[in-house]
């Protein structure tokens, strides 16, 4: 499943003319207007934009939580168009690790069990689930908190558990939606340092945020406004107008 080492020329994420609209007050509100975005393996990209800019929709599309009305999304070169709900679930399981603003940990469940949870959705039972979960928790610096429940952990520690959970399926993309939104400045810094570290270890990271300070930690900043890519700080400027 770990295809970080897949050919460097295949983009991890490739958005081609992604468009999407929502019904709003009886009309269709065009939330994305033809987005082109390519993320190569090993990149750390921040998608930034004010609320209502369409960045959340872009993230949901990249995360295969929904399918675009128009355009195409390719994950590791494979198109996701026309996939069923169950097939999209497989893509998410095999390629994408989610980190949320609200951590979304299962209450009254130990850190270890929280991290292990995604493994139960594999077709074949994972035999070394405990070892894998332990290794993931160690990699986020929580090797000594395996059996603590979320209520016994600080906000920063909870987010680390969530990141460990995102890593358990050895994803090709770490997709973080406002990962520091619920944390204080100091803890935010720690979490961003962790993303940095994971990126240095080879993980492709995509952050969605509305805070410039957070975005500045990434190698590349993509700015979205009114459903269009406004600016791309990298040398790939496909989407910039």
């Amino acid at each position: 499943m770990n295809e970080l080492s897949s050919s460097a020329s295949t983009p991890t994420i490739q958005c081609e003319q992604l468009s999407h609209s929502f019904p709003m007050a009886g009309e269709r509100f065009q939330v994305l207007k033809g987005i082109d975005l390519t993320v190569m393996p090993g990149e750390m990209v921040a998608i930034i934009g004010p609320s209502g800019s369409g960045k959340s929709t872009l993230m949901n599309l990249i995360g295969c939580l929904m399918t675009p009305e128009q355009g195409e999304l390719k994950i590791l070169g494979k198109s996701t168009s026309g996939l069923t709900k169950a097939q999209l679930a497989d893509v998410r399981r095999d390629h994408i690790g989610f980190v949320f603003q609200q951590f979304n940990l299962l209450a009254r469940t130990s850190a270890l069990d929280n991290v292990k949870m995604p493994l139960m959705y594999h077709d074949e039972p994972i035999k070394d689930a405990d070892e894998r979960a332990r290794a993931c928790l160690e990699s986020v610096g929580l090797g000594d908190r395996l059996h603590n429940h979320p209520s016994q952990l600080s906000g920063g520690q909870q987010q680390r558990v969530a990141i460990a959970r995102a890593l358990i399926n050895r994803p090709d993309i770490l997709l973080a939606d406002e990962p520091t939104g619920a944390l204080d400045t100091h803890t935010s810094g720690e979490i961003m340092a962790l993303f940095r570290k994971l990126n240095n270890a080879g993980h492709t990271v995509v952050l969605v945020t509305h805070e410039m300070e957070v975005a500045e930690q990434a190698d590349r900043i993509v700015m979205v406004r009114d459903g269009c890519l406004l600016q791309d700080s990298s040398q790939h400027l496909e989407g910039a107008k």
Binding site: L65, A89, N104, Y121
Partner: protein
């Protein structure tokens, strides 16, 4: 397996709620099992009574007869006689035995013990026709009936009341309504009859002895009997014998055409009818219990819907990490089935305790049926699937984005 584990964990997390929800199932299951046990028990009791009674029995009684428009008391005009019994046995080859008897009450005294009991003065054939066994001693003979010998057969209940040990009863002399009678035999126990009367609370003696000395009044026909029990060889011959018998008796007693002087009733058929009625009644009760099980199922559905709403974000998260809709469906279905099965197991336990209490504590006749227990447990699992499906489907059909945003 891990799904089952997840379900158990999530049910334990809401312990109180889970217990209250299963309560409906628990009550439903135990009600169904107890009702069936009661029904089956009553059924078996009746069957045993039919057996103790002996099969293919006809009961003959003299009916009240209208005399010049006035309805007399039963047996007032037409009196059955022991010779009627002999005639029936002689004329109808299908008849195996005709027990003819008179009934009465008497005070029995032995030493300083005394007891009020029912007595039957009967011919020899009654023991055969009514399926009485003599377990100790002997039955009385034809000549003892003719001579009005002072002998008596004692029922188990009477023996227990009068003697410390019924085994010592035979050979002793008791005084029945002041007449000394020698106990020559002990009757085997028959238990209660269909109306709940103790059939073993009885003394049986030769008809003439009873008529002449114990219950008879002077000047009465000593061969007179009030009832006859007729045993027929085959069930198929019951109708024929009963018609022939009525015709024969009407002829012997010169009953005018169109008058009903004697009634002939099929005892086994009456018991069967009663058993049938019992069955209908207990099925009805079990049906009501089944409805309560259904209501329990609705309770499960309700709580599963609450659970799905409460855990919307969790469902969204599980979908985000790769759970297919089918896996979410399975998770919630397993949860509701587990909820129902835990209820079923507890209900089973409670019904076993209750049935035990009723049977051994209160002496009711109960019959647990393993089939019914199995059916109700499997049925409950199906209720879990049936009522769990809608909430589980609702969960599996959630949009992961909406679910993750749910507050």
């Amino acid at each position: 397996m891990s799904q089952l584990f997840t379900a158990l964990i999530s049910l334990r997390r809401n312990m109180m709620r889970s217990i209250l929800t299963t309560l409906g199932i628990i009550i439903g299951i135990s009600a169904v099992i107890i009702m069936f046990a009661l029904g089956e028990g009553a059924q078996r009791e009746v069957e045993e009574k039919i057996k103790s009674l002996g099969t293919n029995l006809l009961m003959v009684r003299a009916e009240a007869i209208n005399t010049a428009g006035a309805r007399g008391a039963s047996g007032n005009v037409n009196r059955l006689n022991i010779s009627d019994a002999d005639a029936i046995k002689r004329d109808l080859s299908e008849v195996v035995a005709v027990g003819a008897y008179n009934r009465g009450q008497a005070q029995v005294v032995y030493g300083n013990q005394n007891w009020n009991t029912g007595i039957q003065g009967a011919n020899v054939d009654l023991l055969t026709a009514s399926n009485w066994q003599v377990t100790d001693g002997r039955a009385y003979s034809e000549s003892e009936v003719r001579s009005g010998a002072k002998v008596v057969l004692i029922g188990e209940t009477v023996a227990k009341e009068l003697f410390d040990d019924p085994a010592f009863a035979v050979g002793e002399t008791v005084r029945v309504n002041k007449i000394p009678l020698k106990i020559i035999g002990l009757l085997g126990a028959k238990g209660e009859d269909m109306r709940g009367f103790d059939q073993d609370d009885i003394l049986i003696m030769p008809l003439t002895t009873a008529n002449r000395r114990v219950i008879g009044k002077s000047g009465r026909d000593i061969n007179r009997v009030s009832r006859m029990v007729v045993a027929v060889d085959e069930e198929n011959n019951m109708t024929y014998v009963s018609e022939e018998m009525e015709r024969l008796l009407n002829q012997r007693h010169r009953v005018a055409a169109g008058q009903t002087a004697f009634s002939v009733r099929n005892l086994s058929a009456m018991l069967s009818t009663r058993a049938e009625a019992n069955k209908v009644f207990s099925s009805l009760l079990a049906g009501v219990a089944g409805v309560s099980l259904l209501v329990g199922g609705i309770g499960v559905m309700n709580i599963m819907l609450v659970s799905v709403t409460e855990r919307t974000r969790e469902i969204g998260l599980r979908m985000a990490v790769g759970a297919k809709p089918r896996a979410i469906l399975a998770q919630f279905l397993i949860e509701s089935v587990v909820l129902c099965l835990v209820g079923a197991m507890l209900g089973l336990l409670i019904s076993l305790l209750a049935v035990g209490l009723m049977q051994f504590g209160m002496g009711w006749s109960m019959a647990l049926s393993p089939v019914i227990m199995l059916i109700s447990v499997v049925g409950t699992a199906l209720i879990g699937v049936g009522f769990g499906f809608y909430p589980a489907y609702k969960a599996s059909n959630l949009d992961p984005i909406e679910a993750l945003r749910f507050e």
